[in-house]
């Protein structure tokens, strides 16, 4: 654990740090709310009741949790190799686009289970290709992956708008509300009375577990970590850096694409393709993985917590004269205060050193 680590570390001291950071973040967010003339208690209460207050709200959070988990799993791979896959939003979008396209072509001719499976494969492919594009730009064009990925996000976004208003528009008049929704037979099946699909949950959890195992125990995982720690010595060790980096981008993109598929067919999805379908889940996952200090184990609860904040803060816009971005402010403040407390600890408070 050198200076290179970001975010939290496990253990008692890590826990104390987390508490401090949470208090600081709550303090800062409270200040913002007071400046806005809102009651902080009321606002935090609304976020809580809006995310966990009823079984239907909890179900909604849980289904939104899955795409964040999938993106986090992918980002664990790229971050391990020291890569900033900011293009993840676009990879989610392309996954959704490919999945929608596949379903539109096949929905009449194949049984629903086959359509859904093939759509998932299409989503994987769409995300992976968009990820490899960012990776290829970095590798063969020396274009920093932050700029390449960001540009590709915007391109994917307007491709969706074009598809929704153009070739894939609803019968009659095309609108930005999206394509014609798919019939319920093409929705992932949910529990009785609890609108969460076991398939989704299983997928989200198992993918992040698999990513964690792959990073710890496989050749590829260890090579990626070596590249992330020190590319030069990784190169001297004979690791094919370029190929493995491209693979990392492809893997992360594929998982993001799978998240895109979930956003089309999932229980709480709108069951169609619409502009901004990625809803910031990819960026949210970047914050999650940073906060989790690249730990898969920590990513799971943090992803849930952050998704709950995002979903709960929607109520601020619906029920109070506040902007739903308040959730983002709380998340950002939290991450910033964790980074600050962690920095203070490692630089000035030696009690934190093990």
């Amino acid at each position: 654990m050198g200076n290179k680590t970001i975010g939290l570390e496990l253990g008692v001291k890590g826990f104390l740090l987390l508490i401090t950071a949470i208090l600081v973040a709550i303090g800062l967010s409270t200040t913002i709310l007071l400046i806005m003339g809102a009651s902080p208690l009321d606002a935090f209460g609304l976020i809580l009741s809006g995310s966990l207050g009823s079984s239907s709200k909890l179900a909604y959070v849980m289904t939104a949790w899955v795409p964040v988990l999938l993106c986090s799993a992918g980002l664990l791979v790229t971050f391990s190799a020291g890569l900033w896959n900011i293009g993840i939003e676009g990879q989610v979008v392309m996954g959704a686009v490919f999945a929608t396209g596949m379903m539109q072509v096949l929905q009449e001719s194949l049984p629903p289970a086959a359509v859904l499976t093939l759509a998932a494969c299409a989503g994987l492919l769409g995300g992976a290709s968009w990820g490899m594009l960012a990776g290829g730009l970095r590798l063969y064009g020396n274009v920093n992956e932050i700029f390449g990925g960001l540009g590709l996000n915007f391109i994917a976004g307007s491709l969706t708008v074009y598809l929704v208003l153009g070739p894939w528009k609803r019968p009659g008049i095309g609108s930005t509300s999206g394509t014609q929704p798919f019939p319920p037979s093409l929705w992932l099946p949910a529990f009785e009375g609890f609108q969460v699909s076991p398939i989704e949950l299983l997928l989200g959890i198992s993918v992040i577990v698999l990513a964690s195992i792959a990073l710890r125990g496989t050749h590829l995982g260890l090579q990626l970590k070596a590249i992330g720690k020190n590319p030069r010595s990784a190169f001297l060790m004979g690791i094919p850096i370029g190929r493995q980096m491209l693979l990392a981008f492809g893997l992360c993109g594929a998982l993001a694409g799978l998240a895109g598929w979930v956003l089309v067919v999932g229980t709480s999805a709108r069951h169609n393709l619409f502009p901004l379908i990625s809803s910031g889940y990819g960026f949210l996952a970047i914050l999650v993985v940073l906060l989790a200090n690249l730990s898969a184990l920590w990513s799971v609860p943090i992803a849930f917590f952050f998704t709950a904040i995002s979903m709960g803060s929607l109520q601020l816009a619906l029920q109070r004269q506040l902007d739903s971005s308040m959730g983002g402010v709380i998340q950002g403040m939290l991450l910033l205060s964790v980074l600050i407390t962690k920095g203070l600890q490692s630089r000035f408070l030696q009690w934190g050193q093990r």
Partner: protein, 328 residues
């Protein structure tokens, strides 16, 4: 005269990007990356507008925007230079945080009319043929932005302190040995750069896109600015040319949009981004190994032409950009 009006409008739309790019260039020359531009431009635009609205003073708006921009620079500097946390992580978090903060705090102020920078032609000079209507029929912020290009260029490349600034980003160890307080000066330039970014943000809301809204319509511009810093090779004048070219293209796209109604309009706002990728590609591809291999196969004359073109486009960052300086 049409050309004059066109150039006039390009210059009038450029100040936000000019200030942001000049600020980021200064910060990066000192070896620090302030990645937060896309968020900090929004936040400073919002703050600048609100303050100008409440005080009914455009100047107060600009000053507050600059203060907020400098404060973001301070966070970046503190996190990196004092706490040794990674700059890209801090910058990315601040990008999202500033954007969301702008939306939250700006929420009650959407679509309100507010004060704007007054038009101020310079009497006498304005009457000059061509140059008059192009350069001197503008507002004070435009004059300031054009002046800023020259001033920043002179400062970086023609003064002693500018030489030290370059040393901070190129060889901090050597600068340290010459008695420069590297950390303190990096703090200083990150704050100055941040303040210029804030000036850019405020020139959006008080001049180029008056008011506030969600979305405000400049989302993504911060990333373009960061890319232009690279394209500009960390040189003010080349970066400014890049900005004028970029704004000219935007203007051309707007004209095209009304001229070609059949092309789906939603594609136009995205055009800057493939362009950004392509530009960066041209700037960096000369370094790629496979490119050199291809070039080596070409006949001598063509090869020389291509190598010269690529060399002219190619830029390289300050050698110690984004790295920490530790006294051993």
């Amino acid at each position: 005269m049409d050309i004059a009006i066109l150039i006039n409008s390009i210059l009038a739309a450029s100040p936000p990007l000019l200030f942001a790019v000049l600020g980021e260039t200064i910060t990066e020359k000192a070896g620090v990356i302030n990645l937060s531009l896309d968020g900090s431009l929004l936040l400073t635009a919002m703050v600048g507008f609100i303050i100008a609205l409440h005080t009914n003073s455009v100047i107060a708006g600009f000053l507050t925007g600059m203060a907020v921009g400098a404060f973001i620079g301070l966070i970046i500097a503190f996190m990196s230079l004092t706490l040794h946390q990674p700059q890209v992580a801090t910058g990315f978090v601040l990008t999202l945080l500033s954007r969301d903060l702008a939306y939250v705090v700006g929420n009650p102020y959407t679509h309100l009319p507010g004060p704007q920078v007054p038009h101020m032609p310079i009497p006498g000079l304005k009457e000059l043929t061509f140059i008059g209507p192009v350069l001197f029929d503008q507002n004070p912020v435009v004059y300031l932005s054009l002046l800023a290009i020259i001033l920043v260029w002179i400062y970086i490349f023609k003064t002693r302190s500018g030489l030290k600034l370059q040393g901070l980003g190129e060889r901090p160890a050597a600068a340290f040995l010459r008695g420069v307080n590297v950390t303190k000066m990096r703090y200083f330039y990150t704050l100055i750069g941040g303040a210029l970014v804030g000036l850019g943000g405020a020139s959006f809301s008080l001049m180029v896109k008056p008011g506030w809204a969600r979305p405000y319509g400049i989302e993504g511009t911060g990333w373009i600015a960061l890319a232009i810093v690279i394209f500009g090779g960390w040189k003010p004048i080349r970066a400014a040319l890049g900005i004028f070219f970029f704004v000219a293209l935007q203007t051309a796209v707007n004209i095209l949009q009304s001229a070609a109604p059949n092309v789906p309009t939603q594609l136009f706002p995205t055009l800057p981004f493939p362009l950004m990728i392509l530009t960066l590609l041209f700037v960096t591809i000369g370094n790629a190994e496979w490119m050199n291999r291809i070039l080596n196969r070409l006949p001598v004359g063509t090869k020389r032409f291509f190598i010269r073109t690529l060399k002219a486009l190619q830029t390289s960052p300050p050698a110690s950009l984004g790295t920490l300086f530790k006294k051993e």
